[in-house]
């Protein structure tokens, strides 16, 4: 009975509400262009933040403070004008990441992650321009033109479609959580038909290719994806 009372007391004291920040209103502003640099008109733009669990502990047992989230918090939304510009009032939640969801009338879409330090001290998130990225089917083939029997250790790093682009410190970078997951690591020239790699990536973006022979000689190459289908060949 005593334990039950000890359990009930914190439950009564701790609010079980999913909370946003009190007494705050933020402002979001950006301009969105397509992959050709033209303004994206009438695109729907939403800013969300992940609605996380809050945990608290009683007698060493972890309990969740909030129920399982159905969806993230919608902080604000708007529609781009004829110049691709959009701005709106936002609610605010002190969070690690924010997400800008963009959906064009042509069903193009993009999710841009935003680091919390991108908000100025004055609760303003101003991203000068966001470029929409499309998905490309990429073929990258290693072709043995020299007749070598050397086996190469190949690493391909690219902007995979399940990765978020991250806006941090006023620049766009790939989400660091994706850097190790989107690499292709394989051996080439073990057999005659092991040189072809096919994958999907966002464009415009850049592919980093690194291959190294058994002696440790290393070659780095970069390829820019600018079209829905791209094919690159590397002769060795």
């Amino acid at each position: 009975m005593k334990k039950l009372l000890f359990l009930l007391l914190p439950i009564l004291l701790i609010s079980c509400e999913a909370r946003l920040d009190d007494d705050k209103r933020a402002f979001f502003k950006t301009r969105i262009v397509d992959s050709s640099g033209l303004p994206l008109v009438n695109a729907s733009v939403e800013v969300t933040t992940y609605r996380s669990y809050d945990f608290f502990s009683i007698n060493g047992q972890n309990l969740t403070k909030t129920s399982e989230p159905d969806r993230d918090f919608l902080l604000g939304k708007g529609t781009t004008d004829e110049n691709g510009a959009v701005s709106f009032t936002m609610l605010f939640d002190t969070a690690y990441r924010y997400y800008v969801h963009i959906k064009g009338v042509d069903d193009s879409s993009k999710i841009l992650a935003v680091a919390s330090d991108s908000f100025n001290q004055d609760l303003t998130l101003d991203i000068p321009s966001i470029t929409m990225t499309d998905m490309a089917n990429v073929e990258l083939e290693f072709i043995n033109t020299s007749g070598t029997t050397t086996v190469y250790d190949v690493t391909i790093n690219y902007f995979a479609i399940y990765c978020d682009e991250l806006y941090e410190n006023n620049s766009f970078v790939r989400d660091e959580n994706c850097e190790f997951e989107d690499e292709i690591i394989d051996l080439v020239n073990q057999t005659t038909d092991d040189g072809l790699f096919e994958f999907r990536a966002f464009y415009p973006s850049v592919i980093d290719v690194n291959y190294r022979d058994a002696a440790g000689n290393e070659v780095n190459e970069q390829f820019t994806i600018n079209n829905p289908t791209e094919r690159y060949e590397i002769n060795y």
Partner: protein, 263 residues
């Protein structure tokens, strides 16, 4: 238009207070109802957000309820406290933010003047100041989040009251609220989130406790009442004091009834 409404309310409050004070000092009381010493109100109200701010442009008209308690402290001047809660839906998320309903809670103290026009009618006016909080909620589609906007409320409340009996009355109460919010907003949003204004119209019931110690007994035909009245109050037992109170109340009711009949 909103400025005019505000001015009218302020002028009405000042004039009613001045008129009441003048009447009190220049004429004899034309009523037989004893003075009120305590009152408690329960009311329902329609709250109309107004002004060019996030409240006026972002919230729909709301409905609420409240409770007030007031004590006369000197002549007809009273002080009191009030609690109220009003419910609003959001009409424009572009202005106010991405949520769909708000519950406004006020807790404030007030100082006012109570003037009895006659046995049937009273008017009151008071100024209040206190705490205000909007508890805002998102819909499930918006993520189900909750947060608060807090501030301080300044409130002007007037009422016109009809006495159903010496203990009970009903009233109509127009009021005006100006709330200074503590919202930290981005500079691009200007001063939209600094203030919110409401015009309210309440319909309520008031339960009164009156001062029967000064009820005239000249016309009383109740010998027991006269006997108790003539005795030293300090010599009365608790049950006799209680009896005296209710006899006076009854006498006041009788006098009031007679006065009505003679009109």
């Amino acid at each position: 238009m909103r400025l005019i409404t505000r001015k009218i309310l302020i002028i009405a409050t000042v004039l009613s207070g001045y008129y009441s004070y003048s009447q009190e000092n220049t004429t004899e009381k034309s009523h037989s109802l004893p003075d009120r010493v305590f009152a408690v109100d329960f009311y329902l109200q329609r709250a109309l957000p107004s002004g060019d701010n996030f409240i006026g442009n972002g919230l729909s008209d709301g409905t609420g309820y409240g409770i007030r308690m007031q004590f006369d402290i000197y002549k007809n001047i009273y002080v009191g406290g009030a609690l109220s809660q009003d419910f609003f839906s959001v009409k424009n998320t572009d202005v106010i933010g991405e949520f769909n309903r708000a519950t406004k809670f006020n807790a404030y103290l007030f100082l006012g003047y109570d003037y009895q026009l006659n046995d049937d009618w009273n008017i009151t006016a008071d100024l209040g100041y206190g705490y205000s909080q909007n508890k805002n909620r998102q819909s499930t589609e918006q993520g189900g989040g909750k947060f608060r906007d807090t501030g301080n409320v300044f409130r002007i409340t007037t009422s016109i009251e009809y006495n159903l009996s010496s203990a009970t009355s009903i009233y109509l109460s127009p009021s005006y609220e100006s709330i200074s919010y503590n919202i930290n907003s981005a500079p691009a949003l200007g001063d939209t989130f600094d203030k919110g204004k409401f015009i309210n119209l309440a319909l309520g019931i008031r339960f009164n406790v009156r001062d029967y110690r000064n009820v005239p007994l000249k016309d009383a035909d109740n010998q027991e009442l006269i006997d108790l009245q003539n005795r030293d109050r300090d010599d009365l037992s608790i049950s006799e004091k209680r009896k005296l109170y209710f006899l006076k109340k009854k006498e006041a009711r009788r006098l009031r009834r007679e006065r009505r009949r003679s009109k």
